[in-house]
């Protein structure tokens, strides 16, 4: 059992949970994830470890409540128990020891790019972060990323920071030169756009993928993604891959596999008085 220590709303449907998980907090590395399950009958949900405090024995999870299962997770209040957390899973980010990296985060993906930026900064890499959201209220982890290096905030509506997409800011940073690698995490269209910006420049680009997953140990193959025409399992071969090799169309498509079931799940929850 894992105890919820804090529950903070970061953006309209984005919640940060701090939860006890001493072993995972102690050994997790940048880029790794956990799978959580809120109780009997619940789905197993993969979540990147956004932050960890080894001394306190806690990890931080950032959850966008889009479906019934994630809504149940973010409803957990301090003092309540999260039944199952398994991890840390997936390969850790390969961290260079010098140079200049740009970390691009879109929406809730900013919480996933945060541990990468943290790992890079700790390894001695100069970090520039470019983060974005639809509008001001959707911008998350700004303070945490500012502590790690220059941070450019973009909003689609111009309500905060730079008016425009993260790719616009990325183009400018790349134009200034000296960038060795780009790490991008966010919605599929954003990651694809970042990869297309960096491809002509030949800048090494890493993306973190979030396909549908059950076990997280390579056992089910549900999370398969095509990388350079080869099938890989995101849970054990990833979740980070060369952004120039990812078949984003297939990823986006497969993410929609159970869309038709989501409404049924929500209707059911309403009937059960949880909705």
């Amino acid at each position: 059992m894992h105890t919820i220590l804090s529950n903070t709303q970061l953006a309209p449907n984005v919640t940060r949970l701090t939860v006890t998980a001493p072993r995972i907090a102690q050994i997790r590395q940048a880029g790794q994830f956990v799978i959580v399950r809120s109780g009997p009958g619940a789905e197993r949900i993969p979540l990147t470890i956004a932050d960890a405090d080894a001394a306190a024995g806690t990890i931080t999870l950032v959850i966008q409540a889009v479906g019934q299962s994630t809504k149940e997770l973010v409803a957990l209040q301090p003092g309540e128990e999260l039944r199952d957390i398994v991890g840390p899973l997936g390969r850790a980010t390969e961290l260079p020891e010098h140079g200049h990296a740009v970390c691009v985060g879109g929406g809730v993906g900013t919480a996933v790019v945060h541990p990468i930026a943290q790992g890079l900064a700790r390894a001695g890499v100069q970090v520039t972060s470019i983060i974005g959201g639809r509008s001001r209220e959707w911008v998350i982890f700004e303070e945490e990323l500012r502590a790690l290096g220059t941070t450019i905030v973009c909003t689609d509506d111009g309500s905060y920071g730079r008016h425009g997409f993260v790719t616009d800011a990325l183009r400018d940073v790349l134009a200034a030169g000296g960038v060795d690698a780009v790490y991008a995490v966010g919605p599929v269209p954003m990651m694809r756009a970042v990869a297309e910006v960096t491809r002509p420049l030949g800048v090494h680009t890493i993306v973190s993928l979030n396909p549908i997953m059950i076990d997280g140990t390579g056992m089910c193959g549900g999370c398969r993604v095509s990388i350079g025409g080869e099938t890989k399992f995101a849970c054990v071969d990833g979740p980070e891959f060369d952004g120039h090799q990812v078949d984003f169309d297939e990823l986006r498509d497969r993410l929609g596999t159970y869309r038709q079931y989501e409404q049924a799940a929500q209707d059911h929850a309403c009937k059960m008085g949880q909705g």
Partner: protein
């Protein structure tokens, strides 16, 4: 030994083999409740009388865990079911499981003398009968444990090999902790084998019995990630690795990443472990196809195709590249599948999964095969018939052509010797290249059966005990 003299040899030989009461095929192919209903006591007593109590009982040697079959059958005849249960449980840690899923026809029952003329004794049915009786009547720690040895053993994986080894080791007085990656113990018994063949309640009861005897189980622990094998080894006097062969093999044909293509592992895990058949009461969904093609001919393929039928498929079909006699599945599973209206298309190989512009599966392009020269396995190798291509329209394709060794644990243990397929190299007794580390089940054998894994667990437990005595 129990006496079994109440009836004459002639009377004994005249008793016909019992038939297992089953749910009607046209009713059961819509539900997930168990197909086999179990023998009533009266029929079990009669069936047990068919045993000849052979002095040299071949059935014992035919059993991978060496259950003393004539002994427990003798106790049934005597009407002493408690003695039968104690005898059986002393030999086999999971009899309610093996009584349901063992391929008895190629093991104990294959060598039964009664089978020479007529039908062998229904040993599997009787094992199930006694095990179910034990579950209802023998509660708690019914065995007096050996005095504590002070030795600690870690078991990695709570499938049939791990549970068996744990059961044997705890009886010998060792402290046993099982580490399980999933949130529920049981391994393939809970994620792989469907409810209608092995109710999860049975597995829960078997696990609870082991826990009552003192076995500790830590779920949500992935060895290779949460802990390395070396860390576990440092904390325990010995480790038994029984993580199974949990990496699905795909066909490597075009269209395999379309929506609607599942590995059998994923499909069965969704339906069994995550109970997707009861969606939305359970939150994990599974796609329900109208026409479902399952590629493969083993027990896993049968489980998947019968599951698809139960989830409402109008047509659920097995696509297998060899013929009916080559099907590796248990005879009973094939028979049950046929009764339930499963279609079989033999000597067919898939070439491509077809899809629409929305990314959904629409069919399976296949080619007919004929049997050519025997291959390395001695079976005749299927070869394509030119010009015989056809399309099977379907909306779900389930790939059940086997599994390989999962490298998650082994890749983090560089000193652990593997064979060229990535399976752990282990001797008869499970000993590996690392002192104090033993291994068994599918991670050693490649994909095999529950009972072979249990046999490995039992032998390894004996070897681990000997290793601990010599420390």
């Amino acid at each position: 030994m129990p006496v079994n003299e109440q009836i004459s040899a002639k009377e004994r030989m005249a008793i016909a083999r019992v038939k297992m009461p089953e749910q009607d095929p046209q009713v059961r192919n819509r539900t997930f409740t168990e197909v086999n209903l179990g023998l009533p006591e009266q029929l079990a007593l009669l069936e047990a009388k068919r045993c000849l109590q052979c002095k040299v009982a071949k059935c014992i040697a035919g059993c991978p865990v060496l259950v003393d079959i004539p002994r427990f059958l003798g106790f049934i005849v005597d009407g002493d079911l408690e003695a039968a249960a104690r005898s059986l449980l002393g030999d086999n840690a999971l009899p309610a499981v093996t009584g349901r899923v063992c391929p008895q026809e190629t093991q104990c029952e294959e060598v039964c003398i009664r089978g020479l003329k007529g039908a062998p004794v229904a040993i599997g049915y009787l094992e199930r009968f006694v095990a179910d009786w034990a579950r209802d009547h023998l509660t708690g720690a019914f065995m007096t444990p050996a005095p504590a040895s002070g030795k600690k053993v870690a078991v990695v994986g709570s499938g049939p090999a791990g549970l068996t080894a744990a059961g044997e080791l705890i009886k010998l007085g060792h402290a046993v902790t099982i580490y399980e990656a999933f949130h529920t113990p049981g391994g393939v018994l809970v994620y792989g084998i469907p409810e209608f063949r092995l109710p999860k309640e049975i597995v829960r009861a078997e696990v609870a019995r082991l826990e009552a005897q003192g076995v500790k189980i830590e779920c949500n622990t992935v060895v290779g990630k949460t802990y390395t094998l070396a860390e576990l080894r440092a904390e325990h006097d010995a480790v038994f690795v029984a993580v199974g062969a949990g990496l699905p093999v795909f066909m490597n044909v075009a269209g395999e990443n379309l929506k609607g293509v599942y590995s059998a592992n994923e499909y069965l895990t969704r339906v069994n472990l995550m109970a997707a058949y009861d969606f939305p009461n359970n939150a994990t969904p599974v796609l329900k196809g109208k026409r479902v093609a399952v590629v493969g001919g083993g027990n896993v393929a049968m489980d998947a195709v019968r599951t698809a039928k139960r989830l409402g498929a109008d047509e659920a079909m097995i696509v297998y590249r060899r013929g009916k006699t080559e099907l590796p599945a248990r005879a009973e599973e094939v028979h049950h599948a046929e009764e339930e209206g499963i279609r079989f298309d033999f000597q067919v190989a898939p070439l491509e999964v077809l899809g629409n512009d929305q990314g959904w599966v629409t069919g399976l392009r296949c080619i007919r095969m004929e049997l050519g020269e025997p291959d390395d396995s001695g079976r005749r190798r299927p070869v394509p018939v030119p010009g015989s291509e056809f399309i099977f329209p379907c909306d779900i394709v389930i790939v059940a052509i086997g599994t390989r060794a999962n490298p998650l644990l082994t890749s983090t243990s560089p000193d652990l010797r593997l064979n060229r397929w990535g399976n752990i190299e282990a001797g008869e007794d499970g000993a590996t290249s690392l002192p104090g580390v033993f291994a068994g089940g599918d991670i050693v054998r490649g994909a095999a059966t529950v009972i072979l894994a249990m046999g490995d667990g039992k032998r390894a437990a004996k070897a681990i005990d000997a290793y601990l005595q010599n420390l």
